[in-house]
Symmetry: C2
Subunit: 423 residues, 2 copies
């Protein structure tokens, strides 16, 4: 395998001609492939279909306590749904609010409340100048989009193999205008990194200057293991207890990638004080969430074991796709010195760092040949990857044959971009 960084100009030129010929061949196929979004595949969704049948018979819509879930009431969720998600997140049901279909919406609403009303009685962020939020990057563009929407300054915190750079985080939180941080602590989007025990403990031990500092602990992939040797994540609330810092953490998850994206159930877990604060807003905001859909989920999954068993079926469908992506990367780009990537144990993405300054060019080459990837830079605040290096691959949705073609072309384009930059 030619290490491009050590190759001569002649070798590079020859290789480039070869790659361009290959590229033109793919381009002539008039491809229409989409590898841009972390969407479950159709076979995954089929697994959950029997859920729809669980509520049609008489009285099946009653909770264990006899409450009619078809009617108004139970703002914070039906008891059995609170139990199920409390078990999954290993917290008390009292600390859980079972909500609507979108955990992103819960995060938006939480930041919106901080902005307009203030958290637990503190000054609304709209009344302050220079509010900042920490953004471990590469990270999830829609997190960054929320704080950006409210005019909050997003600050990049580099990701390490153990999670966000905690030295930097600990330094930043001394600033009372730094109001929080976005986290995907398990199988992070896009790197698939799970925060180390030390990282979690350092989060629990944070002493931010701002009384209304919040860690948005988006545990979106907490059950999305891909292998039989999954990562493990410490329970943030257990660790926080020893530091009396439970109020710092807002944990979120949803079943969007367990049952149905858009028709799942989103959940928030927080300290008693935060739960009361959030509920006081919810009483004004809504008449309540969809309890029938909660009950459908409880009837189908039953308990945490049921969810975990279901996720093994997902993993069986997803594993070949991830293996394909990783083996293609290894075969085509391994040893060329132009790309690094993570091998995730779970989550929805493979994150590839191509040569500095080559991400945008690589993505554009693919687009011009009919393959859509997540936009280069999307994994950084303001869409600005300072190294122009990170590309997020989302292998879950396309059929395997299409994924194969898209990956062949990805490797060609990444190498073309690299050589163009080297020559």
């Amino acid at each position: 395998m030619l290490n491009l960084k050590k190759a001569t100009t002649e070798e590079l030129s020859a290789r480039l001609s070869e790659l361009r010929a290959l590229y033109e061949e793919y381009k002539s196929r008039d491809l229409r492939l989409d590898m841009s979004r972390g969407k479950p595949g159709s076979e995954q969704l089929d697994l959950t279909l029997p859920m729809f049948e669980s509520l049609s018979a008489k009285d099946t819509y009653l909770t264990q306590t006899g409450f009619d879930t078809r009617n108004y009431g139970l703002l914070d969720g039906i008891p059995e749904a609170k139990l199920l998600f409390a078990e999954l997140l290993d917290v008390s049901p009292d600390n859980v609010i079972v909500c609507g279909n979108s955990s992103l919406n819960l995060m938006f609403d939480y930041i919106s409340t901080a902005y307009a009303k203030g958290l637990c009685g503190s000054t609304p962020w709209s009344k302050l100048e220079g509010v900042k939020f920490l953004c471990p990057a590469p990270g999830y563009d829609r997190h960054f989009g929320i704080t950006e929407y409210f005019g909050i300054e997003n600050i990049v915190i580099p990701m390490t193999e153990n999670g966000p750079d905690m030295d930097l985080v600990e330094d930043y939180v001394k600033d009372p205008l730094v109001k929080g941080i976005w986290c995907v602590p398990m199988y992070s989007n896009p790197d698939g990194i799970t925060y180390s025990d030390e990282t979690v403990r350092r989060f629990a031990a944070l002493k931010p200057a701002a009384e209304d500092f919040r860690v948005m602990w988006d545990n979106a992939y907490c059950v999305h293991h891909l292998t039989d040797t999954p990562d493990t994540l410490l329970n943030i609330f257990d660790e926080a207890k020893t530091h009396n810092s439970e109020d710092l953490f807002i944990e979120l998850m949803s079943t969007s990638k367990i049952s149905f994206p858009g028709a799942g159930v989103a959940v928030l877990a927080a300290s008693a004080r935060n739960v009361a604060d959030i509920k006081s807003r919810m009483t004004v905001q809504t008449i309540g969430f969809d309890k029938l859909n909660m009950l459908r989920h409880v009837r189908f999954f039953k308990n945490a074991d049921g969810v975990n068993a279901h996720m093994k079926l997902h993993a069986a469908l997803l594993r070949p796709r991830f293996e394909l992506v990783l083996s293609m990367l290894e075969r085509e780009l391994g040893g060329r010195g132009i790309a690094q990537w993570h091998t995730p144990n779970g989550g929805y993405f493979v994150s590839v760092n191509v040569c500095e300054g080559c991400a945008k060019r690589t993505v554009r080459l693919l687009a011009e040949a009919g393959v859509v990837l997540t936009g280069a830079g999307a994994t950084y605040p303001y869409g600005n990857d300072p190294a122009d290096s990170n590309i997020r691959l989302a292998p879950t949705f396309p059929p395997v044959e299409e994924l194969q073609v898209a990956m062949e072309l990805f490797c060609i384009c990444a190498e073309i971009a690299a050589i163009e930059a080297l020559i």
Copy 2:
């Protein structure tokens, strides 16, 4: 029938003793009755149960255009749901956004956007001092609660038989800090009044000083007719077209009281400009709404005719309850000079005005005997009914036998309170 206002003190005292004896008798029964909320009864909900069966078979989750509603996408709703609600509201599907389960949530989000970001580029209300909102009263407490939550001053606009007092409205909108008005234009909560053609036309012709003035046109009861001679309401967007004022109106409805409260579908209709403004926020706020639930609704109701036929079944269940309430009021309080009420052609409430200063006392007497009504004052901003007169009766939820007992006691308590005030 003794007209209490013309009775002698002796007559009043004798009548009061009689009523108090009756009251004690009811009190001793240890009642637990709830007539506080506009909840559908269980028989109404049964009518919609077959909806759950519409999505279990293979491929039934695809839209007409072949889109898989189980997955991400289609932020503003599936095409067939947009068609159904556009037909119901008599607007173009392009002007419709089909959303989650709660129209209250849509209104909260809209006011929240106005507060934090501004509408269509105008100054956020959070940056202004003294923002005001008009509140036709008696009205819906949860409307008033939203503007109160954002620190906006709620201003009472008296309701007339034709809708809000439009002379006052036209006067108030000259103030650029008056930013909007809450409306339930058909079968208003609680009076059951439908805005007259003249009222609707005067709304369409409004020329508010504020460029971001909005009429929150909550058409919650647009298909909730109780009789065979229903009220009619002019189409606000048709009227607005002649004045080029479409941007003033945000229309809302939901199927909460058509299908299931909490598990229905909420809808927003607005001008192209407002729809674009709202969608630009939604792309940050959510990954999308529950499209499977939209599809369930479309499969079950099919079209506007289907909804209207379904609502006739609701009316058949509700009519006897309203007739009971109205006939009890007439029999026990008619001609006594101590109460007026509306006879609604639709909606969910009967609104009673008892003697000035007697609403709180009446509601408390009932509560002490085990019958819960909507709190006195709740139909006014800040829970403050200046005349302490309006009481909202919600006859839809309790079983008819309970409703009968609750109404007997209501009439006794209203009369006791009136005599106590007269003596």
